[in-house]
């Protein structure tokens, strides 16, 4: 390409020299001859330019020369370039990171085979109090497997934590008891070894275990000979038969053991909905047909009294099971981050408009010299693309760091986070986004740059090209867009913050001030006997209650706000099936209610005197279920805790099992009636909780030196941790909204500065004609704020419309919450006014004569 340019130059030179030499041959003096020859030839540059235009082919050369010019322009204006590159980096980086999350978490199918045919099975109890879908019981699963042709496979699982001492500090892991066909249902092949055999589900068979890959790597250094070895799980020897690959996190467990069902557990149709079931549909089957078959099976099996309980089946696609709770939040974040990038683009377009406006003369000269319009637009777009790619590159690096940071902190509770990475698809997205962004914010300035007529610009005496009123209107319109987007972002962030505040302020039913908690799990082996567990907790609780600074101590099998658990029915003796009410069940110690400040509404809590008797405490809702309308029920009898006769000793107030949902009906039993393998200790302190934690730890070690002690937390930390995902969403939205606000305010400042600079003449004249400073300020402020107010109005309207979409993420806050809207409007108006005032004050303060003299 360069060659033919050189060739053309040579050709043209020889043309001119031929002309000159002919004249010389006719006797014209050489100097005159050459000069005339060049004149007659015309402009060599114009000819070269036209020649190049005709040639059109060497795009690469054009691009390279544009790039060189663009980079020179950028180097001359480092301030603008820095602002542009940084804001682009943030915009493109944030979009890339969020897209990566959306892609991996929501869009990618789950990694196991044919994931669209795998569902979680749940039970629907229409009359259940405050719940929708709950778990299944073993008999249901067995019957479904036998009688539903639509279901290719059914697997029942039960969560069971495990303590492993080998390979490091004794630690507790999340685990599950699973059947032999669980992994084949999901299509997971063990990384090493094998899955369970059907014989291993029999009671009394040898103990085997499968470990997840992450445990295998972190505690056993990925030792391949581990398979076949024996390790202590819950204090008993288990043979490791296989390793589960890391990508199978659908169950979120680390330790798998065979599911062993006792005969009595299988036989109970209407109780014990504490299991999870997964099913795989046959090729030709649809979810509807499967549910129909499952319901037929359920209807066939009645309760012991001969009447039917209205249980229906529900199938939840596996993908939704794993990612469902994150879905709307992630889409909201994706929209937000797109809005931020849009604000950045609009702002940069505005900035570039002002830069190119001052280069109007240059545009005119280029035009007069023969540069085509396309060529000039190309040059501006090259500049914007150069900025865009610089920002985009930096942004991708930022996104990578952010994703690494997110993966490292597990405090945000994002499902499938382990699968998120910057793969080629995401990088491709980043590339496309960069190009589109560059074209987007360069298009408008490029178009306007080439619209100016050459004659206007070259008119003597004008220093800048007047854009006319159209230019200022355009830039004000862009400001309105920025402000509108900013308003929408701020409103959503405000709504989320409001939700979170309401959520944390809701009446939980207990008081978490000054309460410490620690999970205590007893491994098997030494604590195989129920009596040894009972004695341990007896001793521990009495030791802890006498620690200095402790006003009350208790324990419970599952803390509030961590979810509902252990659904089992309570009912009056002889009641028909439909009068068996599934409630949440807990084992607690007597001191628990005082430690958590849960009010006792009637009667009393159980105490030491109740050992040897079969007693229980019910929450108010549970009592109302059994004895609706009766005020004094203390002392009555009912069936509970796996169909045993209980005496009610007291009724307590409701406690929320999850923050957003209403409290479920709950039944509390003393732990000594069936000592659990683990409970969470709660300790109310009169002094700063932290100062007691050391003594608490010592007391625990004192009872059993080998006990794994997980972190000691305050109850407030537990409560806040239970809404980790909402906090994540709120945090990001707030960050995006603030970014948007900053960029928008920079934009307002820029436009007002520009307009003020252009109007120095007018301002000078106004002042000379007697306008006071404050009148001038008022005028400039009004004109500067007009697009802001308009944009705010549009933004609020849009936010109201879209607010319906995020209803599911809000808690006790309407999408049209007036407080939030008023607050956001105030913030935007104040920020906008400040951004206008700074340049306006400078202008209004200028000397009238000086302003006029400048022209």
């Amino acid at each position: 390409m360069r060659g033919s340019d050189g060739e053309l130059a040579e050709e043209l030179e020889s043309h001119i020299s031929l002309m000159a030499e002919e004249s010389i041959g006719h006797g014209v003096p050489p100097e005159k001859a050459w000069r005339e020859a060049r004149l007659r030839f015309g402009s060599v540059d114009a000819a070269t330019e036209s020649y190049r235009d005709q040639r059109k082919l060497p795009l690469l050369e054009t691009v390279l020369s544009d790039l060189r010019f663009a980079s020179r322009g950028i180097r001359r204006n480092p301030g603008f370039a820095t602002v542009a590159v940084l804001s682009l980096a943030i915009g493109i980086g944030a979009n890339t990171a969020i897209f990566s999350l959306v892609h991996s978490v929501l869009l990618q199918p789950l990694a196991f085979s044919d994931p669209s045919r795998v569902y979680g099975a749940r039970s629907l109890l229409p009359q259940s109090f405050g719940q929708n879908a709950i778990g299944v019981n073993p008999m249901q699963a067995r019957e479904w497997a036998k009688h539903c042709p639509s279901l290719e496979q059914v697997a029942l699982t039960r969560g069971r934590g495990a303590q492993i001492a080998a390979g490091g500090e004794p630690a507790a892991f999340r685990g599950a008891d699973v059947p032999h066909n669980l992994f084949s249902l999901f299509g997971v092949s063990p990384l090493l070894g094998r899955a369970f055999l059907i014989e291993e589900e029999e009671e009394g068979h040898g103990r085997v275990v499968m470990l997840s890959e992450s445990v295998w790597r972190s505690r056993f250094s990925a030792d391949p000979s581990l398979v076949g070895q024996s390790i202590l799980v819950d204090g008993e020897n288990h043979v490791v038969v296989g390793i589960v690959p890391a990508w199978f996190r659908a169950l979120g467990r680390d330790v798998y053991r065979p599911l062993v069902l006792r005969k009595d557990e299988i036989g109970r149709m209407n109780g014990n909905f504490n299991y999870s079931a997964y099913v795989r549909l046959r090729q030709a089957a649809t979810p509807a047909s499967a549910i129909a078959e499952m319901n037929v099976v359920l209807a066939r099996h009645s309760g012991p009294a001969g009447t039917r309980m209205e249980v229906k089946a529900a199938l939840i696609p596996m993908h939704e099971l794993v990612t469902g709770r994150a879905r709307s939040g992630l889409w909201m974040l994706a929209a937000a981050v797109g809005a931020v990038l849009l604000i950045v683009c609009v702002n940069l377009a505005n900035l570039m408009l002002s830069r190119t406006a001052s280069r109007g003369r240059e545009a005119a000269i280029r035009s007069a010299l023969g540069a085509s319009r396309g060529r000039q637009m190309g040059q501006i777009l090259t500049e914007s693309l150069l900025l865009s790619f610089s920002g985009g590159f930096l942004g991708v690096v930022l996104a990578g760091w952010t994703l690494q940071f997110l993966a490292a902190t597990s405090s945000f509770d994002i499902p499938r986070l382990e699968e998120v990475r910057l793969d080629n698809f995401v990088l491709g997205f980043a590339f496309v986004l960069t190009v589109v962004t560059g074209l987007l914010f360069g298009a408008l300035p490029a178009w306007r740059f080439t619209r100016t007529q050459p004659q206007e610009a070259l008119r003597a005496g004008s220093h800048t090209v007047t854009e006319g009123r159209g230019g200022l209107r355009l830039r004000s319109a862009l400001i309105s867009v920025e402000v509108g987007l900013s308003a929408a972002l701020l409103i959503v962030a405000g709504l989320l913050t409001s939700s979170l505040t309401h959520l944390l302020d809701v009446d939980k039913g207990f008081s978490s001030d000054g309460v410490l908690t620690v999970d205590v799990g007893l491994a098997g082996g030494r604590y195989a006997e129920a009596s040894s567990k009972e004695r341990f907790f007896d001793r521990l609780l009495s030791a802890v209650s006498v620690l200095p600074g402790v006003s009350a101590a208790g324990a419970i099998t599952q803390l509030p706000t961590l979810g509902e658990s252990w659904n089992d029915p309570i009912y009056l003796e002889g009641a028909p099936s439909e009068k068996k009410h599934p409630v949440n069940n807990r084992y607690t110690s007597p001191g628990y209610f005082r430690a958590m400040s849960i009010p006792v509404l009637s009667g009393r809590v159980f105490g030491e005197s109740d050992r040897g008797r079969s007693v229980a405490v019910l929450s108010e809702k549970a009592a109302k279920l059994l004895w609706p309308g009766e005020p004094n029920v203390v002392g009555r009898m009912f069936m509970g805790e796996d169909d045993k006769l209980k005496t009610l000793v007291g009724v307590v107030a409701e406690v929320r099992a999850t923050l957003p949902s209403d409290a479920p009906a709950t039944a509390y039993y003393p732990y000594w009636q069936r000592p659990p393998g683990g409970m969470s200790l709660v300790v109310r302190t009169t002094v700063d909780p932290r100062s007691v934690s050391g003594a608490l730890r010592t007391a625990l070690r004192g009872e059993d030196a080998q006990l794994p002690i997980p972190a000691i937390r305050t109850m407030s930390e537990v409560v806040v941790g239970s809404v980790a995902q909402r906090r994540f969403q709120r945090g990001l939205m707030l960050a995006f909204a603030i970014c948007g606000l900053l960029v928008a305010s920079l934009g307002i400042y820029g436009v007002v500065s520009y307009s003020v600079a252009r109007r120095r003449n007018e301002i000078g004249i106004r002042m000379a004609l007697g306008s006071s400073r404050s009148q001038l300020l008022g005028l400039l402020l009004r004109q500067g704020m007009a697009p802001v107010v308009f944009g705010l109005g549009v933004g609020v309207a849009v936010a109201l419309l879209l607010g319906q979409g995020i209803r599911g993420l809000l808690f006790e806050v309407q999408p049209a919450d007036p407080l939030t809207i008023a607050g956001v409007s105030a913030v935007l108006l104040v920020v906008g006014a400040l951004a206008c005032l700074v340049p306006a004050r400078r202008a209004a303060g200028s000397d009238a004569i000086a302003a006029l003299r400048l022209e």
Binding site: E7, L8, E10, E11, L12, E13, S14, H15, S17, L18, M19, E21, E22, R40, F41, G42, S43, V44, A46, A47, S50, Y51, D53, Q54, R55, G370
Partner: protein, 121 residues
């Protein structure tokens, strides 16, 4: 009547077409020629009534070459300079005769109208 032709974009295309015709005709009658020679020949043919910007010739030459109407090769000029020599191709001859026919027809039609006006006056 002196037609002073400058590089005005709005009339460029019309001018380029006319110039292309003149170039093809020149090459057809003169044989192989370099750029300067073509320009001089055009000026001579018009009895110096046509004073063209020689530079405007080159885009036209490139266009004709892109269309395949002419072909070029490097050679040495009379004054021992390297110059590109152009010659017409068979395809160019066909294009030339087609355009000459069109031009003659257009001239005849316009001529009738011009003659008409003259009689009235």
């Amino acid at each position: 009547m002196l037609i002073w032709v400058t590089h005005m974009r709005s009339k460029a295309e019309i001018w380029q077409g006319t110039l292309a015709l003149m170039v093809l005709k020149t090459l057809n009658s003169m044989g192989t020629q370099h750029g300067y020679g073509i320009a001089r020949r055009i000026e001579q043919t018009s009895d110096d009534l046509l004073a063209i910007n020689h530079g405007t010739l080159y885009p036209v030459l490139l266009k004709l070459e892109q269309e395949g109407a002419i072909a070029s090769e490097w050679g040495v000029s009379e004054n021992n300079r390297r110059a590109k020599f152009y010659r017409i191709t068979p395809a160019g001859r066909r294009q030339l005769s087609a355009e000459v026919t069109q031009w003659a027809q257009a001239t005849e039609i316009v001529g009738r109208f011009v003659a008409l006006k003259g009689q009235k006056a």
